[in-house]
Amino acid sequence: MSPAVAPRIPDEDAVREVLRGVADPEIPAISIVDLGMVERVEVGPDGIEVELLPTFVGCPAQDFIREAVIEALAPLGHRTVVGYNFRRPWTSDRITATGRANLAAIGFAPPAEPADVRCPRCGSGQVIRDSFFGPTQCRSLWYCRGCHQPFEAFKPI
């Protein structure tokens, strides 16, 4: 219990800054912070506690993300506990402006009600939904009549 050897307790902002480097494994262009998954960060003498909200109840990436968070925070030298809960439902409104811009930049339309979906490539509103469901739980399939390209949209939920 010698304070001289214990690593300095990081502040919450430093932890969040590290978490900005943890990407969603299904959409690597967006971090779990910009996705709005990080509900709470608590730093205390016992270590770092991170509370995450699952985007979908059955999202298979949850264990990967937990491991990635623990690995990313390891250099801070404190015991890290990562928990998931549904105390507040994650909604697509939690995605930050940066997150929405990152999604659009790699060709995913950010979450919007169907009438407001725009083609992420050409910006056209002349789009049709091919399917409510896509390659992962959070995505749906669309087609742009403007530039004649298929694209995916993040589901509003």
């Binding site: 809960n85 994650w90 091919d130 409510f132 739980q137």
Partner: protein
């Protein structure tokens, strides 16, 4: 997460409710996952796989809550995979296999609408369930939009599509109401606020919703309330025994392994 302490009678009733909800999601999720790769069109391969993934995720979360309530050493996997076929409490609707596409859509329509009525009946008496249900309902909205689009498509088609769909609805109608059969000890669930309304009330709301959708399509089906204990059955169907053999096969191949 600290769970609200429950009276023994409430805890027993809650376990019965959770068994029904979790088994329903598990069985329909596993059953619909059989369409992966062989659905009528590519989009439906993707849709049924994604819906199945949602349902299995809901089942897992519900089994985890159930494991905490039972506190008998079984975890979510043990509850999902280690019971004999007779011990599953899924609704009789799900004793029917997925059948053809018309049967699958009819089954999903009856299930999704009844499940929506059930989820809308969960009160805030036990926060872990109320919180999970709030999240699940956001996802189920997509399942409903998907199935309603197909109900419309099949019912408005001429000839075989419509006749197969109507025949499937009629074949399933007698067993569909078991989704909303009252759990054992419903009174304790109502008193504790875990249920905000009774299953008979949920049934009445569901029957109205089914009529609202099917009426304009010129289809009428007879739905009668299910008896209280109708989720318990001595002998599950041949379809379910087959499905049980499938979904337990990996688990049984190496007992106790971590997958």
């Amino acid at each position: 997460m600290t769970a609200v302490r429950l009276a023994p009678a409430t805890s027993t009733a809650l376990a019965d409710l959770l068994f029904g909800m979790a088994d329903d999601e598990f069985v329909i999720g596993f059953s619909d996952s059989e369409w992966t790769g062989i659905a009528p069109i590519l989009e439906e391969d993707v849709a049924m796989s994604s819906i199945a993934q949602d349902e299995l995720g809901h089942a897992k979360a519900l089994y985890e809550l159930l494991a905490g309530v039972l506190d008998d050493g079984r975890d979510a996997d043990a509850l999902a995979y280690d019971r004999e076929p007779e011990a599953y409490r899924h609704a009789r609707l799900l004793d029917h296999g997925r059948g053809d596409w018309a049967m699958t859509i009819a089954r999903r329509f009856l299930y999704d609408t009844a499940d929506a009525a059930r989820l809308a009946s969960i009160g805030d008496g036990w926060p872990p369930l109320a919180e999970l249900v709030a999240k699940i309902r956001r996802e189920e909205r997509y399942h409903l939009m998907h199935v309603l689009a197909w109900v419309d498509r099949l019912a408005r088609a001429d000839g075989e599509a419509r006749s197969r769909f109507v025949a499937a609805l009629e074949a399933l109608a007698p067993d569909a109401p078991t989704i909303l059969a009252a759990p054992d000890g419903e009174a304790a669930l109502l008193e504790s606020g875990i249920l905000a309304r009774s299953m008979p009330s949920a049934f009445a709301a569901w029957r109205g919703e089914v009529a609202r959708v099917l009426g304009p399509l010129g289809i009428t089906i007879a739905l009668e309330p299910a008896a209280g204990a109708s989720r318990h059955r001595p002998a599950p169907s041949t379809d379910f025994r087959w499905l049980w053999g499938e979904f337990t096969s990996v688990r049984r191949s190496d007992t106790g392994a971590t997958w």
